[in-house]
Amino acid sequence: MLADITLGQFYPADSFVHKMDPRVKIVLLIVFIVGIFLAKNLIAFIPAVLFVILAARMSRLPVRLLIRSLKPLRFILIFTFILNIFFLQGNLPEGQEPTPVLDWWIIHLTAEGILQALLYSLRLIVLVLGSSLLTLSTSPIALTDGLEMLMTPLKVIRFPAHEIAMMMSIALRFIPTLLEEADKIMKAQTARGADFESGNILKRAKAMIPLLVPLFVSAFRRAGDLAMAMEARCYHGGEGRTRLRVLKCTWRDLWGAAAAVLMVAGCVLISEFVHII
């Protein structure tokens, strides 16, 4: 039941985007996010949308996977869209009146408001698609390696970059193990008459205690064992450590960076010169 949650959501494939350096991909995602917040209108959004479509094509990821990543978002999307069309009037220059579309009772919809609500929703969709492209096309190992490298300069201010990356990769390693264990404990407790499914929220939360207590006890035991095993294998922090996987920037990353810069430039310039809302 819990077992279908896979390791992260990495989808292995042999593609341009998969082969890019994870550090570059993480930085590009941040640049991309900045870009879509600089896009002030729907026209200025075109470069961002083109960028996502291009990246999706180059990643050879099945479209349904990308669509699926939007699924948890559907209620938020609908909710914010509906709220926004009621409250947004569009950023019009001084003195210009919005164009009313519907004026009935307390509902005043304007064309500009609808366009801006669309822009906000689109921003959210593109944001999620961009992040999913990163996590779908980058293995958890590459992702933690990339994060560690990017955080390394922060070591100067005693930021524990290596430790955080190690914790993340150990968490990734143990998530399936702990999920499986939770499943086992749940079945064992159900067999003894525990009821996890009925009752109100409070009652169900209370029913989780016989699941959580053994799970935590076992997690702590595992942590102790693992620490011992890591020490036995000469682990002593990040100092003097070499790596099996060395990250290398290639021409692919250059192309990716160029595309991202173009996209941001496009978003900014169009926002500057084209005013539709």
């Binding site: 390693r173 036995a232 070499t242 099996l244």
Partner: protein
């Protein structure tokens, strides 16, 4: 001439300042290429002894030397642990990485092996334990026996000359147990790997070169398997039993059958029974 890789002299260790020591006055030495087994009931101090052997614990008194290096010397800790690898009981709690290959690399990364040397060492180590096809898999999807073999590969890649197995087969099903035990036996025979095999299974200890029996922190019995398993009385006091075949053989002998002592394995038994049949045919 055999060189002793591990030398333990009059070692005691207690977890708390005062209170019963978990290991009491133990002396033993482990020569190169040996396959030594350690037996003992729960809480007899086997795991504590194992952890003393690679400096995870420092002795309260006495000395432990690995390749002549004292484990009490903090400068030598990493060299000692590289030389003396360890495989633990729970297969799930000793693999660190989300990919088999990366897990085998973990020790190499820790001791600072150059990146370009790693792939060859990892591949060789995985081949030695028969796991080369699983290099890119996630450990989560492996069986218990396969996980233990990956853990062994982790030590082999570090070029450990000695591996201490702390009940490495205790949580495996019979097939996994057999799989891991025979891999270790082969490494011992073909590669000269020195093995310290801590176990609850008498059948496994019967195949060792030498057996140590621990009871309440002390080594109470030591010798070749046939010597050790002939002391049914001492074993019983230590809450241990002889291997099942040995028990059967002794029962048969008590009933008047002409079975020689020192039957330890199923093969020994088969040989004895064949001999008995042959001699009764002649009559």
């Amino acid at each position: 001439m055999l060189k002793n890789l591990i030398e333990i002299e009059n070692v005691s260790f207690s977890y708390e300042e005062e209170g019963e020591p978990a290991v009491k006055n133990v002396s033993l030495s482990i020569p190169k290429g040996a396959f030594y087994a350690v037996l003992g009931q729960n809480g007899s101090g086997k795991s504590t002894l194992a952890k003393l052997m690679n400096g995870l614990y420092k002795p309260s008194s006495g000395t432990v030397k690995v390749y002549g290096m004292d484990t009490a010397d903090d400068d030598k800790t990493w060299e000692i642990r590289q030389r003396a690898g360890m495989v633990f009981q729970n297969p799930d709690n000793q693999l660190v990485a989300t990919v088999v290959k990366d897990d085998v690399a973990f020790g190499l990364e820790n001791i600072g092996v150059p990146t370009e040397d790693m792939p060859a060492r990892i591949e060789q180590a995985l081949r030695d334990v028969g796991m080369q096809e699983f290099a890119d898999r996630s450990p989560h999807h492996l069986s218990g026996g396969q996980k233990q073999r990956v853990a062994i590969a982790g030590a082999l890649a570090m070029q450990s000359d000695i591996i201490i197995f702390d009940e490495a087969t205790a949580m495996l099903d019979p097939r996994g147990r057999q799989e891991v035990f025979s891999v270790v036996q082969q490494l011992n025979r073909n590669r000269g790997l020195t093995v310290v095999w801590i176990t609850h299974y008498m059948e496994e200890a019967a195949l060792a070169d030498r057996v140590f029996v621990m009871h309440r922190g002390e080594v109470v019995l030591e010798g070749t398997p046939s010597e050790v398993f002939s002391h049914a009385d001492i074993l019983k006091k230590c809450k241990l039993r002889q291997p099942p075949v040995t028990e059967i053989a002794e029962n048969l002998r008590e009933k008047g059958f002409d079975i020689s002592s020192g039957v330890l394995t199923a093969e020994d038994m088969v040989r004895e029974v064949k001999r008995l049949c042959a001699s009764s045919w002649k009559k």
